[in-house]
Structures are given as structure tokens and as C-alpha cells.
Assembly symmetry: C2
Homo-oligomer: 244 residues x 2
Amino acid sequence: MKVLIVEDDPLHRAYLGEAVRAALPECDTVLEAADGLAGERLAREHTSERVVLDLQMSPRNGIEAARTIWRERPETRILFWSNYADEANVRGISRIVPAGAAYGYVLKSASDERLRLALRSIFIEDQCVIDREVRGLQQKSAGAVSGFTDSEYEVLIDIALGLTDRTIARRRNLSLRSVQNRLQQLYEKLGVYQPNDGDAEARFNLRSRAVTVSLLRKLVNHTALERAEMDLARWLERDGHTQK
Amino acid sequence: MKVLIVEDDPLHRAYLGEAVRAALPECDTVLEAADGLAGERLAREHTSERVVLDLQMSPRNGIEAARTIWRERPETRILFWSNYADEANVRGISRIVPAGAAYGYVLKSASDERLRLALRSIFIEDQCVIDREVRGLQQKSAGAVSGFTDSEYEVLIDIALGLTDRTIARRRNLSLRSVQNRLQQLYEKLGVYQPNDGDAEARFNLRSRAVTVSLLRKLVNHTALERAEMDLARWLERDGHTQK
DNA sequence: AATCGACATGCGGGAACCCGCAGATTTGGA
DNA sequence: TCCAAATCTGCGGGTTCCCGCATGTCGATT
């Protein structure tokens, strides 16, 4: 049995290697890669069926790497190993996991024992293992009180990128007013309206403030922004042509 | 000789411990703490004179911890050990280092040897050691082409927090127009103006876009935002009283 | 069939924002 | 001491943004 480890921090990579060898005696070879691109390449060359992936790497973060790996072999078992439990990451992963695939999400702060169990459950038993704290986010993102619609998340990204209402409208094929409607819903759900103590004047620029609190609450993060920025650049390119 | 290590990741903590013992045979005791608060406490109890500090921890990140440590004993030698070379971090540190203090800034990606040299230079020779990549930022932040004035950085933070022009004016004791002037300079330096191909309409909301590119360029980061948010909350508190 | 909720769209107005212009004030050297 | 550069300030305007109100569509429920 082979296991591929993709992780940019050499310390964590060594630690993972140890953990894998200890938890999986049936594993005879451990491959290692230091970034997403190298990871994809190794996975392809060795037709890896078991992968441990760090999120936040560069170039090519864990989510992107997972997408291409799963596109080539959807039955690959992937364990995501990350520092944080951000909504941006969870949303990103649940968007790309193929039907029926075995995968897991374990935080780096987890104990050795929890990591060991996750490794065996996913790689041997083909079960899904999601860390408890991450689980909480998943529930929410599926539509509870603090849950956002996909379309609301879309405008959130768009204003985080700094787009104009009008531009958002064109990009999403909506009218100007509809975009503004979504924005209002977003402001509502983010609780971005000032307490409005009596007649106190407005202190916040709602649009910017919305981005701020999303960042503070980790609804979006740096890597999500980077990815969105690249998508945007591609769209701007296309739009520039068609508009002329 | 004693050395205090403050680092939340247990792996990195262990690695640092090893590195310190190897580089400094004259060091007989190594203390360890897992977050900023515990670090400050240990430093106080043991009157530590040599500290290795991780930035980005919680609660209480490295910069805050360094500030209280230096306030109590300005001659303490501190080695900052961090993942990134952000402008936000560099600016934060250079703001709090006492005159004549020995300190260093080494990236986690540095080689064992470089870390060893830094440890000896700072803790034994009382020299300052700044990683080359970080050095680059320091130059810039002191006023080159892409360098920002302190006041420009101030408004950047303020709009990143989502404040209104008017609120910024009150907070910084400026007129509305002055704030807007600074904003224009900021937009200029961030290169946030669209190429303006002929008569193409504006695609970006300048204000939001400015925040976006600052994030992408790591001029501000999550922890800087969090800190600024707390400062803001404190000011809002005070302002609420005086305004009534 | 009637009703309800979620979403899209138009209109209109008040507030905030972006910015050119021009005068005042401060600052840092010759 | 005096000049020049940088910074602060007010005025006026065009634009964008925020949002209440009204209308229309579509699917699910009763």
C-alpha cells in the first residue's frame, strides 16, 4: 500500500510521515511532495489511491490539487489536514468532493491518536471522517440561521474583490436592483447594521464593513480571495472582448 | 543561561527546542509556552532575557507579547520566528522595538544553519539579525516608491475596518476633505485605477478594491485586522461617551 | 384555484463617495 | 528669514450606493 503526503512545511511533513508509518503498518511506501503541483504530478505518476493533503500551500493549494486528483481518479481517498476550520475552506471542499468518495478533514491541532484513527478509517475502511469543529461549519453552511445562500456568498465574494454593483450585475446576469437586493440580505445576515442608538449617525460603510466582518469571521480568507481574483481576471478578459 | 520559547505549534516548538540546545551549549534551561499570554507570564516569572517568539498565535500574538515583555525589560533579546514576511508584521515590530534592543526576524523556511547563526548572534553577541526577505520590506516601508506614509497606512486600516469617511475624520481629527485626499493618494499608490481603456466604464469600487489589493499584497493581514478591530472598538466606546 | 414565500426588476430620492480647483497652514531646509 | 514643498481645508459637481415602495414571475402548499 502506498500513501502520498503533500505538505509544504518540512516539519509537518516529517511528522505526517511518522504518523502514517505508525498507523498503517500495511503501508510499504510513503511518497512526499512539498507543494500542490508536485503533489498532482506524483499522484498521477504513481496512480496514488491514498493522499494526505495540506490546505494552504503555494503554488497550488490543497483544494485545487484535490480537484485535479479527483478529476483523474474520483475514487482516490483524500485526507485534508489543515490549520484552520474556515468556512471558505469547508465550502471549497464540499464543492469538489465526488459522489461516494472517501475523504476526511482533520485539524493540525488534533491529537496523535485522533490522527491515527482518521488515517485508518479513511484509508482502510473507506469512511468519511470530519473533525468535530469543522462539522459545525458544515451544518451552518447548509442553511441554518447564520447560513448563506450560494447567491449571497457570490455577491460577498464580488464585493470583496472590489467590484461595482453594475459590474456584478453584468457578471452574474442580473439587474442592478437585484444585486442590491442581495447585498441588503447579506448586510442583514452579517449583522452589519450599527446598533443605531437613537439618531447616532452611520459609522460604517456597509459595503466595506461587510467584507471586514467576513474576514474576521473567516467566511472568506486569503487563499479564497486569491482564487476569486484569478477567476475575475479571466472573466474580465472575456468581457472585454464581447463588450466591444 | 535560560531561553524562553513561545510557539503554539507543538511540532515547531519541539524543533525550536532542539535548535536552541544545539546552537547554544551554554544554555542550561529551555522554557516553553504555547501562547502569548503564557509566554508573558513565564517571561515575567523567570525574568527571561532571551526569548524566541512566534508571530501569529492566539490568544495574544507575538507582537503584543513582545510589547509587554519589552515594556517590563527593554533589554530583553527577542527573536521573532514567523511564517511570512508581511508588511503588516514588519511595521508592527519596528513600531515597538525599544532603542538599542537586540532582536531578530527569521522566517520559518530558513535553513537550520541560518537559524543557528541567528540564535548565536542575537543571544550571545547582542546583534540584530533580520532575514533578507524581510529586510526588503523594511526599506520600502521607510519611504521608497511603493512605500506608504504612516498616515496613508492609517486610512488604509480605517477603510479596511469599514469606517465612513466622516468617522475616519473624527477619529483622526481631520476634515472630511483631508481624509478624502489621503484616500486619493492611497488609491494612486495602490494602482487601483483601472487601465481606463478609452471610455470603458468603471469596474471597481475604488474603496473596496483598495482593501482587496492590500490584502492580496499582504499589506494588511488577518491578525493586523483583528488588532485594529479591537482598537476601533475601544475608540468607539470612548467616542460614544464624549459625543453625547 | 387561491395563497404564500422567494426572487427579479423598475423608480425615485437621500446620503455617501470621488475628485478638480483654489486658498490657507505647516514644515523643512537654503 | 524666507521660499518651496507638503499638508489641510472648503466648495461644488457628478457618480455610485443604500433602500423603501410597487409590480411581476415561479414553484410549493393548502
